[in-house]
Each structure stands twice: as C-alpha cells, then as structure tokens.
C-alpha cells in the first residue's frame, strides 16, 4: 500500500508539473528538470510549477508525519498540532519575525521553531493538573490558538503594505510564490527530525497501547515523549515558517492513512504520504479546478472542518467519549 501511495504521489507530482494554465509535454518537463533551457517551458515549469510542487510535497510530508506522531502519542485524533494551537503559535512567530523583526530566511525558521516549542510547552504546562487529560489539553489548545490567531491578525493589520494573498498565507496557509531555495530547510528538517521520528516508530506503536503497557514493553515513555514532541514541533514550525499553517493537513493525514492501510503496522510513513497528496492536490484544486484562485489552506480547511464534525457525530453515535 505504501508503494501504491508513493506511486500516486509521484503521479500527482508529474501532473502538477505538466498541467497548469497550459499543457507542457512530459519530454519538455523532463528536459527542464535536467537543467536544459527549453523555450516556453523553462519559466513555467522551472520557476512557477516546480518550486510550488516541491514545497507542497515537503510541507505535506512534514505536516502529515508530525500530526500522526502527535495523534498516536496522545492517543487522540483531535490532539493534532493544528487543533491544539502549535501551528498557530509557529505561524504567529513567523509573522512576528518577518513583520516586526524584519528577519528572513533561516532566522525565521529558527524563530518559529523556538516559539513553537515554547507554545507546546505552554499548552502542556497549562493543561497539567494531576497529569495531562486529553480533554483539557485540547480545550487549552483551542484557547491558545484563538490568542495566536488574533495576534496574527493584529500584526498583519499593522503591516498595511501586505496584500491579501500574503496575509492569507499566515492565516490559512499557502504555497503561492514560493522559491526553490526555501525548500532546503524543510528538506533538512524532514531528513533529520523525520528520521528521528521514524526511529521512534516502534516506541510510538507501543504508546498506542497506553503508557503503562508501553513501559512494560520496554519503552522509555518519558524520553520517547520528549523526542517526539521536539521533533514533531520542529518539523511543523519549519514548514509553517515557509507555507503558513496549512489548515487541517496534520489533523486529516493519519485518519485517512488509517482508512487506506488499516491500523496494523506503523502509520507514520503512510500519513506523511497522505499529507503530501493532500497539500499537492489541495493546491492544484485551489489553483485550477475552482472558479477563482484560492490558497491551499482554504481548500484543506473546507475539507477538514466537515471531517471534524463527522468525527464528533460518529463518536457521539457510538457513545464513546471524546
């Protein structure tokens, strides 16, 4: 199934490179990718479509992987970084770094990572009371993200020169106008932190059975938690510093992956692939399939919200508690 998902992702990637406002034959796309100068295709494919597609895939992989790690670790589909406020925190930090501190490039990413970790610790600390209950964590996260969102709105309103598209990036997420150079920090984070998460895949699987059971199986629960939180938050923050908090990708990826591959085996890699497909397809829909051009976050937000409602309704019907 993983191979199938990866093939599908590769096919999507190829389609987004070939098909935009106009069609570019596969041969031309190939030659552009090899670095040759092709009249009429080098700019469209090399400058417009390729950076966008690469960033969409990298951001999607990061969001999907980090979201799945959080959901598995906390054993709650709602405990994804975009619902509990970590994405908003990273986005607020990125906006602050760019607008107020006038930073750019890797400094923004570093700032976002530090702030993301800070917000994660804040949420964890605030919801701590005789242990962290899932309910309290999620509600506290909703409160924190409301505050972060209004901070973003405030900072953007002070920077009057920003256009609507750019403001949308920090509110809902967008891969509009990205450059290929911006993909390097993402790639590095994906290799380093993503690799770190994958080495913890077995421990995460054990955590699914409960903290006590995991400890009995020989997992160092405390250390696994710290590693997972740091790695996942760093990935989310670095991706967010470039694309903004693309709504609900982290939240949606793991449940979709679970539907596709079943719950046997690790969900991490399938979730990452699903995340990449979501962002890539969402961006493509937002650009070409809808009557007007929308940032990818609007598309995934409109997709994710009904799923969240469905989740609430379904859990209610089966009588479980959220």
């Amino acid at each position: 199934m993983i191979v199938l998902a990866a093939t599908f992702l590769a096919a999507m990637f190829a389609v987004t490179l070939m098909w935009g406002q106009s069609f570019t034959p596969p041969g031309d796309v190939g030659r552009v990718l090899l670095g040759q100068d092709v009249a009429g295709a080098s700019f469209t494919v090399g400058q417009l479509r390729l950076p966008r597609a690469v960033l969409a895939v990298l951001a999607g992989l990061s969001f999907g992987l980090a979201g799945a790690s959080f959901q598995i670790m906390l054993r709650n589909p709602l405990a994804s970084p975009d619902i509990i406020g970590i994405s908003s925190g990273a986005s607020a930090a990125a906006v602050f770094a760019i607008v107020v501190l006038q930073l750019d490039g890797p400094l923004v990413s570093i700032f976002a990572v530090v702030a993301g970790l800070g917000v994660a610790m804040l949420i964890y600390g605030l919801s701590f009371r005789n242990g962290v209950a899932g309910t309290r964590l999620i509600l506290v996260g909703i409160g924190v993200s409301a505050m972060m969102d209004s901070f973003i709105a405030y900072t953007l309103s002070r920077a009057a020169a920003w256009d609507l598209q750019e403001a949308m990036r920090w509110l809902t997420g967008s891969v509009n106008g990205v450059q290929l150079a911006q993909s390097f920090p993402l790639l590095l984070a994906l290799v380093f932190f993503g690799g770190l998460l994958l080495t913890r895949a077995r421990d995460l699987e054990a955590l699914r059975l409960g903290d006590d059971a995991a400890a009995a199986l020989g997992t160092d629960v405390g250390r696994t938690r710290i590693v997972v939180i740091v790695a996942a938050v760093a990935m989310i923050a670095i991706a967010t510093a470039v694309t903004g908090p693309i709504s609900f990708v982290a939240f949606l990826s793991a449940p979709i992956a679970a539907r596709i591959v079943g719950t046997n085996g690790s969900l991490l890699i399938p979730s990452a692939l699903v995340g990449a497909v979501l962002v890539l397809a969402g961006d493509y829909c937002g650009q070409f399939l809808l009557p007007s051009r929308y940032p990818v976050g609007v598309v995934t937000g409109a997709l994710g919200a009904p799923y969240l409602i469905y989740l609430i309704v379904r859990v209610n019907r089966t009588g479980g508690s959220l």
Binding site: I142, S150, F151, A153, M168, Y294, P295, A305, L308
Partner: protein, 347 residues
Amino acid sequence: MTAESVTSLGRASFAERSNRIRTIWLVAVVAALVMFCALSVAIGTREVGWPEIVAALGGRVDSVDQAAVAARIPRTILALLAGAALGLSGAIMQGVTRNPLADPGILGVNMGASLAVVVGVAWFNIVSAQAYIWVAILGAAASAIFVYTIGSLGRGGATPLKLALAGTATSVAFSSLVIAVVLSRNDISGGIRSWQVGGVGGATFDRMSHVLPFLAAGFAISLFSARKLNSLALGDDMAAGLGERVALARAIAALGAILLCGAITAICGPIGFVGLIVPHLCRLLVGVDHRWLLPFSALIGAGLLLAADVVGRIIARPSELDVGIVTAFIGAPFFIWIVRRQRVREL
C-alpha cells in the same frame, strides 16, 4: 427557638446580606462605567485638553480637537451597547445550554453572521443597512443552531469539549468559505477585511439607529427570560415539574441572545470572548440568580468592552488596536482558566 426557625432566619439574613452586597456591587459597577465613559471621551489618538472636551460635549465642533472629541461620543455609545449586548447574550447562552463555555464566538455565531453578510454582499447585492442586519441575524441563528445540534448529539449532551470542537470546526469551515468568497471578489475585499476584525471605531449615530430596534427587542426578550432561566438551571425535569414549557423557554431566550449578538456583529464585526468572560465574573459577584445575573452581565459587558476599547487606543499609539483583538487577548487566558478549573463539565 426551633431548629426550623433558626435556619429560616439564617437564610433570610443571608439573602438580605447578599442583596446588600449585590447593591454595593451595582453601585461600584455603575461608578466604574461612568468613569470609563469619561476616559473613553477624553482619551484618544489625539491629546485634547479638558476645556475643549467640555466644549465638545456641549455640542460645539469649532476646532479640530472638539471635532475629535465629538467623534468619540458615538463610539463610546456603540461600545456600551455592544458590550452590554454581548455580555447579556453570553449569559443567556450559558443559561440556555447550561454550558460554561457557551459564548457567541465559540458557538460559531460570529462566523455565521460574517459568512451570511459576505455572501449577501457578494452574490445578492445587499446594500441597505437594514438588509445587512437581517442577513447577519439569520446567519447567526443558523450557525448557533447548527453548532449546538452537532455538539449535543449522542450521549452526555452538549459537553463543553464537544461544543467547543463543533464551534471550532464550524468557524474554520465558515472562515474558509468567507475567504473563498472574498478572494474571488477583489472589489469588496477591502471593506470586508476591515469588518472581519471586530471594532467600534468609525461609529455613527446613523448606523447605530438601524440596529436599535433589534437591540431593544433583544434586550427586552433576554431580560424577560431571567425567571425562566432560573427554572431551567434546576434541570429540565425539575423545570417541567414547575410548570415551565422547557423547549419554548429555551427557544425564546435563545432568540433574544441571537438578536443581540447578530445585530452587534452586523455593525461591529465579530468581537470574541466578551460573552464568555462576563457571565463568569458576574456569577462571582452576584451569584447565580439570573434576575441579577442578566442585568449585571449587561453592565459589566459594557464596562469591559469600553475599557478594552480605551486600552486599544492607548497601547498602540499613534494608531489604535481594534477592540476585537484586545478582547481576544484578555479572553483567551480566561477561557483557559475556566478549562483548568476542575468542574468544567457541569454548570
């Protein structure tokens, strides 16, 4: 003296004392309100001396300073009205749903009103202020009913978590749709974007006059519901036993709350968290009797919003901070505090 008379005596003296405390609080709150009004007229981006302020209050607009002060008067009144309406509607919503996190913002009411207005402006060409308000109220009502229905499905009814999640999901969906509509219409995006952050700046008596009938009806219905909300607070079965028609009482009270917050959202844009904080504060001050709680929520809501507006004008000089942002910064930590309290599940 029998044991029974002792307890009844104790109860009487307790009720009397707490009534005295309530009266003291009432006086204090009204005094604070008057002070905030004075501050709101006196403080702004432009420094104005007292003689000029007094002259402007007397109706003279001869100098720039006096004109600046004259512009602050409708703003102050709108802040008072908006705060009172939001505080009161929050108290009603918490009473109707018996849920400590019920609030126009969290129930998705503000986003519902926003979406309705945006769709109305973009596709149905609504231009008149009157139509604006009707559309906002309809959107508010639809989304409140939707969120509450989703949140209360299944066992356990509308727990705070389910309600908050249903509200969040709906708000995100609606805001995605709002963006989708706005992005495709560059001609209207500027006006709508400034409206999306709640604020009371730029208020005029003319604009306010359009919502006054709605607000008046909302205030009347809401305050009239106090006794019914007291019965509902005992639980549905008990309220029915007392001869209350539970569903009808709920519907009427909710109608009042939606009229209030829908009308305010139509002219101010979404202002979050006032409806959440104020009733909790008021319960600390005057207890849970809705006959006291509702008027107090209106008064303290007015004071809070006015204070937030003044703060927004001071801290961001030389420009100003929209009041919706200030209330979010005060309100979100308060929300977290409520969540952290142990008995978050029941009210």
